[in-house]
Symmetry: C2
Subunit: 482 residues, 2 copies
């Protein structure tokens, strides 16, 4: 355990967060709001950051457990400091609420405890949405893009932070990979802002919704979410961009360097679009009686499917009032999630493809015990290590979800609210059904439940293990995981 190196990297991360806070502060000053809510945390971050990064590590070696610990600690620390602007500006009643909202922001969940969004200050609203953008691609990827790090050590961090069963480098140097990813991310975000401006959305609103889309977060600056604009054009732009940000970013890199073939043969991508198409059409058919025409139903169905499968969580309609079939489909899409290596949450399509193919292959073996069964994705056999880790991911995922549902049920809400609140948080969606539906919020839960749900959001965003193994990786002796 290289504690000095962990402290050193944490220090760097806090300094980056201090730098990130200048943006909302400028926005606040532009709108003639107080800069104080941002200045105080910024100075605190600089102080802590300098203190920590002055600890000179004796060795720069990082092992897998160090990587898990850094990622978990970084996300918790960033959320604690990131909650300060909300607390200082009195935007939310308690610090637990501020922490919940910040975790929801960084993890790109978009679940809110706010009942009234539109009366918040511009600077605070900007910071709230900006956390989506920062958390979407990952804080450590950002740090790696800025500070040079040796590849061997950085891989542990990348693996722990980037979603998906198999993480690879795009180019030989890790720092360059991080720069490429952030470059694509930035260009796509700017493209969305421009398209929203062209449709007549104010710049501030365009930035907020582009941040929410890019990070697949879902915070809006309007109480009625994207539905407030009631514009088919905005629905289409945001709907399509949500889908695009749910695609594995590696594929965009392949497109850029002309490897179109690699993109077309991606089984995950094809499955992703197939699920979106099937869900959109069947939901549109199921809700068509609620709208004046089938094409309107199709518009609302597409937006909601795109919003939920990418785990963004924007809403243009109160799907809590849709018929059971539509609600069940949306809950299943919450589990499915977007593609690995995207900014989306959930189980990820790649994992579902692996799990499905393994099941079919094993059933084939039951019929023909002597046949040799190998699971292949895109022509390549899947290693038994990835198969096993995917299965263990599923088990741990179900376990965290079950325990969370059990604990949350003590708050006494109805079962649909309780269950979908957990599903929504662990998959980083935002809205659930019942009282946490698209027009509801998470304000009514007890403080303990809010901390539990914040844990679920972090566990979901970091793909379970960093959060679960944080304690045993910090203890010298860990009896449970001996």
């Amino acid at each position: 355990m290289n504690r000095r190196m962990i402290a050193y990297i944490l220090g760097k991360i806090l300094l980056v967060e201090a730098a990130l806070l200048t943006l909302p502060m400028v926005v606040a000053m532009f709108y003639r709001e107080s800069a104080e809510p941002f200045l105080i945390p910024m100075l605190t971050l600089i102080l802590c950051g300098i203190l920590l990064s002055h600890i000179s590590p004796k060795s720069r070696a990082l092992y897998a457990r160090d990587g898990l610990a850094i990622v978990a600690l970084a996300w918790i620390a960033m959320s604690l400091f990131g909650a300060m602007p909300f607390y200082i500006s009195h935007s939310m009643p308690t610090f637990v609420d501020c922490f919940f909202e910040t975790v929801s922001g960084f993890t790109t969940t978009g679940a809110s405890i706010l009942t009234e969004i539109e009366h918040l200050g511009r600077g605070v609203l900007f910071w709230r949405s900006f956390t989506h953008w920062v958390g979407g691609m990952g804080v450590l990827v950002f740090v790696m893009a800025i500070f040079p790090a040796s590849d061997g050590h950085g891989m542990h961090l990348l693996r722990a932070e980037v979603p998906g069963p198999a993480v690879g480098k795009l180019v030989s140097r890790l720092g360059d990979t991080a720069k490429i990813l952030y470059g694509i991310y930035l260009v796509m975000t700017v493209a969305e802002i421009v398209l929203l401006l062209l449709g007549g959305m104010p710049l501030f609103d365009a930035c907020v919704h582009a941040f929410g889309t890019a990070g697949t977060g879902g915070f809006s600056c309007r109480n009625l979410s994207v539905g407030a604009y009631n514009s088919p054009y905005f629905d289409l732009v945001i709907g399509v961009f949500m889908l695009l940000f749910g695609v594995n970013f590696n594929l965009y890199y392949f497109l850029l360097i002309g490897k179109v073939r690699e993109v077309l043969r991606s089984e995950e991508l094809r499955t992703y679009f197939l699920i979106v198409a099937a869900a959109t059409v069947t939901i549109a058919w199921n809700i068509s009686h609620l709208f004046e025409s089938f094409s309107t139903a199709l518009r609302y169905a597409f937006f909601q499917v795109s919003s939920i499968i990418t785990t963004t969580g924007y809403a243009t309609a109160d799907f809590n009032l849709w018929p059971p079939y539509s609600r069940v489909v949306l809950v299943f899409l919450m589990f499915a999630g977007a593609c690995a290596g995207s900014t989306g949450g959930g189980i990820k399509i790649a994992r579902l493809v692996i799990l499905g193919k393994t099941a079919v292959s094993d059933m084939r073996q039951m019929l023909h015990p002597n046949a040799v069964a190998t699971v292949r994705i895109e022509g390549r056999p899947v290693s038994s290590k990835i198969l096993r880790s995917t299965h263990v991911f599923l088990v741990v995922y179900l376990l965290i979800m079950s325990i969370s549902t059990l604990l949350l049920s003590l708050d006494g809400f109805d079962l649909v609210t309780t269950f979908t609140a957990v599903v929504s948080c662990i998959n980083n969606i935002g809205p659930g059904l019942g009282q946490v539906g698209p027009m509801g919020n998470f304000a009514a839960f007890s403080p303990a439940s809010k901390i539990l749900l914040a844990f679920d959001m972090l566990a979901g965003r970091l793909e379970l293990f960093p959060m679960l193994l944080l304690a045993p990786s910090l203890w010298r002796r860990h009896s449970f995981l001996r």
Copy 2:
């Protein structure tokens, strides 16, 4: 594919079912009811049975796929013929209802489409509960106990029918194993009947409830289930016997031959009792305000926990009205199920232990990549084949559950009813929550949904694969599972 041998064994099974029908016919005649509802199916069964078992197989070789096909076909055929007494006696409105009720009986689910049970004829009620007793230990195990079968061929049948991740023979001869299992089963059933009689329950009611307990089925002859007697003594007897029938029957055999140590070191047994104790105490605490004293709450909590974890489904209270925490715990117990090798359904504690241990072992490996991690149960390493098949079981289980929920949601019931109806059927419980709660029933579903739920009950009872692989194992060319 040995079609002749499959037909031959099916014929034998139909003859056994004809013989089983004599019992309810005698009961009907004793109560001066018409024997016709039993005589007609009996004669049909004898005719079909003789025709089929006269097909002389060219070879007696049975492969894994033949075993899967026989088990699935046998259960479907027995349910179709077993539905005839209900249909002929006009006990239920449609043949689909009769089929649903019979599948629910044989699979020991106990889900009913009946709104009014007490006006049914005694013969029909007896047959309804007797299907639980027959289905509990397994039809093919019964056939093996009667007809001599060579061990190599019988193992495929035993494996396909007896629940649990690993099925072993108790003694060297398979037929003897089947006889021992049925012997223990019979003795325990008689013991329960005697204890219920001692408490003053009428013989007919005692038989019905002992059959329901032994098979972990849950059909009662009273509208209010066991709650109708409102007797702490009956609650205790049935509550304890439900738990006992949820224990791996191999352990009873070990007890009989004096291998007490084997029993005490069973991790599954200890986990099973631990879960029961934890669930009982926390539910009692959660519902204590609904009852006059904590001990009364404990009595109702124990009965319901025992009933649900063993997948029996008897009720002494309408737990649909209990607070959210209690309902969530009961839904989780539905998934857990009883021990492998018992008459109970669900995922089985053994599988949960394997899944949990694998997850912990793999997380340990994340912290210490160089350590060697083996999953051990009761000191013995678990083979990677069992690990993998357990994981695939979980995936296929979740898949069937998801697709069923999706299809059932088209009936338009609320989400809790829809979801728990599927959970209840696939785990062979009986009651769910909402409209299918302990005081509700399955009558309102559409005929297509009833067939879907019947499929789920069979899939759950036969541990998924025989039902799923029935079609591809019968087709000569199966494109999906090439």
